[in-house]
Chain length 234, copies 2
């Protein structure tokens, strides 16, 4: 049995038992070595998973935006010593829009087995519930912070969506939700459809699709709640 790196999704909010299949939780409970973006929230997740050992017996190393590329390989030490290793994201799927991809790439490069566990992806949940084009879609990450650049990027994504009939998906840090909404309503064509998916998997979840024209008369109010935006131009 080769040592395996498990890519472990974490809840978007709420409890692990609501977010991961029982078989995935069973694998997590068997691990003792973890790499996480944030040790504190990793510990909270592992406490809620019901680890069969004291949390202080777990080894949790941090991989975040400040981790130097040449330090990433050292995080594979448990695998080299023959033990399985778990990679935790801060919320949702590791290695998608988070620094974990560096660890997975290092593990792949060193020939270790990498196994992904099933769990929440805000991108996929939003797309499923949007009814927008699911045969072709692009995840574009974060939009530029500066208004002019952001609106230029939105124009570009709308054009591509129209030319290729492909849904364009993007996210933002919650405190910039309002800026994104303002830019979308200003820049996009009236008939372009916009889906705003907010608080996914939580009791107050909403996933609403409207044309830009409709949104203009009653703008989305995501406030500072985590949101995913999806755009399909026609």
């Amino acid at each position: 049995m080769h040592p395996t790196l498990y890519a472990i999704p974490t809840p978007l909010g709420g409890l692990p038992g609501d977010a991961l299949p029982e078989s995935a939780l069973g694998i997590v409970r068997g691990l003792r070595d973890f790499v996480a973006e944030n040790a504190k929230s990793a510990r909270a997740f592992l406490a809620a998973v019901g680890m069969p050992c004291a949390l202080r017996e777990l080894r949790i190393e941090v991989l975040d935006q400040n981790t130097r590329n040449d330090s990433v390989r050292a995080l594979l030490a448990p695998l080299r010593e023959g033990r399985a290793l778990g990679l935790l994201s801060e919320a949702g799927c590791p290695a998608i829009a988070d620094p974990g991809a560096l660890l997975v790439a290092a593990a792949q490069g060193a020939g270790f087995r990498v196994a992904p566990l099933i769990g929440p992806s805000s991108i996929v949940l939003a797309l499923m519930a949007s009814g927008l084009e699911g045969q072709r879609f692009a995840f574009c990450g974060y939009l530029p912070r500066e208004t002019g650049a952001r609106e230029g990027r939105i124009r570009q994504l709308e054009q591509r969506s129209r030319a290729e009939t492909a849904t364009q998906v993007f996210i933002e840090t919650p405190y910039r939700n309002q800026a994104i909404v303002t830019s979308l309503l200003r820049v996009c064509a009236p008939q372009t459809r916009l889906c705003v998916a907010t608080d996914l998997t939580l009791p107050q979840e909403t996933v609403v699709v409207r044309s830009i024209a409709e949104w203009r008369s009653a703008p989305p109010q995501p406030g500072r709640r985590p949101s995913v935006f999806l755009l399909l131009a026609s």
Copy 2:
């Protein structure tokens, strides 16, 4: 409480208990009305979920490639009558690369609540385990069947991947795996990285990343097993 359309992922193989969180299984067990791509495999899934009623008491309507657009709205009848409705995919997430998006769009258009449940997405699982670029990626669906057109499309995807540092993800019906592999090895640049993810979530799962140059000396052998292909050019 508004009637809700639940978008329900199904296993990529294996049992529902290994694929969906317990909270999602609980919601499925409470439903009596379903729309599915294939009634027979929907019944097999619902039998394995452990529905608390006889399967013959369930209403399962079919939405597949032959369903006419003007028949889709009729499938919303349970919602109009005040009951929740479940949308099942054939494997993986409904409304992503399957006809279910039409039903979700109709429900969104009619103002019903749509709630996505957590479950397996082969696209996301493959991306997580690939370590390829996860900040930007595109799902491109199926490639053209004809060799010339397919290889032209691969060239285009490779160019875009290089220009935008974005992972390009595509799938194929298993009996065309070999044709895809042959085209990829013929067309792509030696340093382009290709991930082949086969039998995801199953015991014999493999997710392997190599450069095209490396794959040329030991080509991937996905056979006719379900596979996802991911490409990142540099």
